[in-house]
């Protein structure tokens, strides 16, 4: 691997051949290459005309990248002169004895080298090797920029840090290597980017547990504060913890958003390449990370409320008059021992409790004049009946019955047959038709119902008679109706006999 600049030969040795087919290794090599220009500065400062060895060039360079990154917004970048001016205090601090002109020269030199002004494309190139699909070792070029110049409004030129610089030099180097959470996060990112979503999900869940643990620790501290301010060190420990936690939240929030973007891409790409299972897993991961973000937002709002809570609790606890700490167990020391006592004795205790525990009442003080008025005032009508009900606005529903009551009556009359004289349906229909052209329909309906008479119900209700209809195979000859010419008759029921039978059985 080597970095080619206009100024110096490559300083990084080519990697030894090895099982580096993994794309992760290539990615890390590329990331490593991004740091090379910074190391290169410290190597090449000896070549500058003059004594510049006291300046820590890599430090200035990183600081320059920070300054540019912080000043960037979406439209423009950082102004060149502005960046130089902001770098000067740090450079001056490195070599206070030197003239200001030299400081400025260092600033410009570092900035120019970060832009790599001398090269044709104003960028850097690193060479690294990978194993190709056929197992052959292949060297590749990696072109990158750290600070690029972009046209600003009005023809001016602004500086912007590139994604590489932000990712590696601002983001990746800014890592607490001992942090378990960050390690988990990095692991997660790696797993996701390599498409190993099952592992990634596990890691994401672990990350979430850790997030919950953070919130839990804070909650416990605040809870303890609420109980007793003195139980918690609010002079140093807690403020430190809160500021750390706030930084942590900001950090995690950034990371998790990055991860989220990553997974979403993985999810969308996964759909086409790897099948629905992969997609589902990626979708789950998105949910988990979203949950992490939600938790962090929550944590942050709690953290911001911690200070006011402490002050309020301090006011409440430290400045409140010390209350008589009774420590009385109302149930165990009063109620439970009282219940087995004889009523006469128990009553004395409850009387004492009531007399002191019911609170106070202000007695009414009445003047005679008021009293007379009061007594002569007619009593207000009592409202025990409640509010007056509004008159219901009833809408008469149209009578949409097919048959009128009168028709039903006539049909029942017709069907009120003597028990020993059943009749054919055809005859009944003919008779009904003579009375009313609609009546045969009702009669036929009732007759069909009677074909399966509810005998059991009739018995239970103590009915004396029951209409029945039997089909003896005769065809019905009627202009309006078809089917069997039922025999309709009335059966007499022996309700009393049935009732006595039933009681005997029971």
């Amino acid at each position: 691997m080597s970095v080619v600049t206009e100024h110096a030969p490559p300083i990084i040795q080519s990697p030894a051949p090895g099982p580096a087919a993994d794309e992760g290794l290539a990615r890390r090599l590329r990331a490593l290459a991004c740091t090379a220009p910074l190391h290169d500065l410290d190597v090449r400062k000896a070549n500058l005309a003059g004594e510049y060895s006291t300046y820590a060039m890599a430090e200035v360079a990183l600081s320059a990248i920070d300054v540019v990154t912080l000043q960037m917004d979406f439209d423009t970048g950082a102004d060149h002169e502005d960046v130089v001016a902001r770098l000067l205090p740090r450079i001056a601090a490195q070599a206070p004895g030197r003239p200001g002109a030299e400081h400025e020269r260092v600033a410009r030199w570092v900035l120019e080298n970060l832009v790599n002004v001398g090269s044709v494309d104003r960028g850097f190139r690193a060479v690294y090797g990978t194993f190709g699909p056929d197992g052959a070792y292949v060297r590749r070029d990696y072109d990158f920029k750290l600070i690029e110049e972009v046209p600003g409004p009005g023809g001016s030129v602004y500086l912007r840090t590139t994604d590489e610089a932000v990712n590696v030099l601002v983001g990746a180097l800014d890592t607490d290597v001992t942090s378990a959470q960050i390690a988990a996060e990095v692991k997660l990112e790696v797993l996701i980017s390599r498409g190993r979503l099952a592992d990634a999900q596990l890691a994401a869940e672990q990350a979430r547990y850790r997030t919950v643990q953070y919130a839990e620790t804070l909650r416990r501290t605040l809870e303890a504060t609420r109980r007793d301010v003195r139980a918690v060190d609010w002079l140093r420990t807690v403020p430190d913890m809160i500021s750390e936690a706030l930084e942590h939240v900001a950090d995690r929030y950034r990371h998790e958003n990055a991860i989220l973007t990553n997974i979403r891409r993985a999810r969308d790409e996964a759909a086409s390449e790897r099948g629905p299972d992969h997609k589902r897993r990626a979708a789950e991961l998105v949910d988990i990370v979203k949950d992490c973000i939600r938790r962090h937002t929550q944590l942050q709002s709690r953290l911001l409320a911690a200070g006011p809570l402490f002050r309020a609790e301090q006011d409440r606890q430290a400045f409140a008059p010390p209350a008589a700490r009774a420590g009385l167990d109302l149930y165990g020391q009063l109620l439970a021992p009282l219940l087995p006592l004889p009523l006469e004795q128990a009553g004395r205790v409850t009387d004492a409790f009531f007399a002191r525990g019911a609170g106070l009442r202000t007695p009414g003080a009445v003047r005679v004049g008021d009293l007379i008025d009061l007594l002569l005032t007619p009593p207000a009508p009592r409202e025990h009946l409640g509010a007056e009900m509004p008159e219901p606005d009833l809408i008469a529903t149209p009578d949409d019955s097919r048959f009128s009551e009168e028709q039903l009556e006539r049909a029942m009359e017709l069907l009120d047959l003597p028990a020993d004289a059943p009749r054919r349906l055809s005859g009944l229909l003919a008779e009904a038709r003579r009375q009313d052209p609609e009546l045969p329909y009702l009669v036929s309906l009732l007759a069909v119902h009677a074909a399966s008479p509810p005998v059991g119900t009739a018995y239970r209700q103590g009915e004396q008679r029951l209409l029945f209809a039997v089909d003896d195979g005769e065809e019905l000859d009627d202009p309006e109706f078809g089917g069997a010419d039922l025999i309709v008759g009335t059966a007499l029921l022996d309700a009393e006999g049935m009732a006595s039978d039933r009681s005997e059985v029971a």
């Binding site: 219940l339 004889p342 009387d351 409790f353 009531f354 009442r361």
Partner: protein, 332 residues
């Protein structure tokens, strides 16, 4: 008024100096507690040295206006449902009580003269007052429930209801001691846990194998828990209200009374009515009722030692289930 007045003079410049120099009767555009000398001095003192104290004010003569203010504060305290946060004048008088020892002593004296005990004066509880036994403000059992005067069992049950409400509201000793604790009760929950205690006593009596039935004609000797266990928990009424004589009716009366005393706040209708406690109730139970009942119990020779842990425990296996929304045994 020596050093403090100097401080006022320094801080306020010439105007303050004028006030300090000709203190008596000087009308100054201070806050508005009347134009009395002490008021203006007191307010002046607060402006200048709030963190410091105003012991010198005690040496000034008390004016009728101050007494009126102190009595006004006490009268605010007699409206137990009034919250300082909702009344600017109340809050201002409380602040004055806190900052001016002389005013505080005056207010205390007014309260004592009326037969009241000052439990606490704070922004959370306001001026928390309790009535002396002989005071006109005291509540007598006969006024509370007419039946209770005639029937000793009813009298006991009404008292027990109040005690049980308190026990449910502050189940652990530390809950009673913790100023920030807010207890929650339901009417049915209170009835449930007292019945549970009664049931345990009944089981114990059965285990002992003795005939625990009360002796006829000696109602005063009957065990107290039997009176409660025997009383029906509830009953149907014509107007769908709670049966007054049932245990839930008695407890319902107790909590309604406590709500009027500013001790409970109604929060819902579940389980016969849910309530939460106010700071005043805690003060009243802790500083007044609990100790009074305790000493009465000690006089009867019943000594129970608490190890500080809660003795109100959830029901054991096979007993009624605990309602889910309560921190402690809640039988719905």
């Amino acid at each position: 008024m020596s050093d403090h007045r100097d401080e006022a003079a320094r801080d306020d410049g010439p105007a303050g100096d004028a006030v300090a120099g000709y203190a008596a009767g000087a009308t100054t555009p201070t806050e508005d507690f009347g134009a009395s000398a002490l008021s203006s001095e007191g307010d002046r003192a607060e402006h200048t040295g709030r963190a410091g104290h105003t012991g010198d004010a005690g040496r000034t003569a008390v004016t009728p206006a101050d007494t009126a203010d102190a009595a006004r504060l006490v009268s605010f305290g007699l409206h137990p449902k009034l919250l300082p946060a909702r009344d600017a004048e109340y809050a201002e008088l409380l602040r004055r009580y806190r900052d001016e020892p002389a005013f505080a002593r005056l207010a205390d004296a007014v309260a004592t003269g009326l037969g009241l005990v000052v439990l606490e004066v704070s922004t959370r509880a306001g001026m928390a007052l309790a009535a002396d036994e002989e005071s006109v403000f005291a509540v007598r059992m006969g006024d509370y429930s007419r039946r209770a005067t005639a029937d000793s069992a009813d009298r006991f049950l009404h008292g027990l209801a109040h005690l049980a409400v308190a026990a449910m509201a502050f189940p652990r000793p530390e809950d009673l001691a913790d100023d920030g604790y807010i207890g929650r009760i339901t009417v049915n929950g209170v009835d449930g846990f007292v019945r549970q205690a009664c049931r345990r006593l009944e089981e114990r009596a059965e285990e002992a194998g003795e005939n625990a039935d009360p002796v006829t004609g000696a109602p005063g000797l009957e065990a107290a828990w039997r009176v409660y266990a025997r009383r029906s928990a509830t009953g149907a009424t014509k107007d769908a209200r709670r049966l007054a004589g049932s245990t839930t009716g008695i407890i319902g009366k107790a909590v309604a009374f406590l709500v009027d005393s500013g001790f409970l706040q109604r929060t819902g209708d579940d389980a016969g009515g849910t309530y939460r406690t106010t700071p005043r109730y805690q003060l009243q139970v802790r500083d007044m009722a609990g100790s009074a009942a305790m000493s009465e119990l000690l006089e009867l020779g019943v000594v129970s030692v608490s190890d500080g842990t809660a003795s109100l425990l959830p029901p054991g296996e096979g007993e009624a289930e605990i309602a889910g929304d309560a921190a402690l045994p809640f039988h719905s």
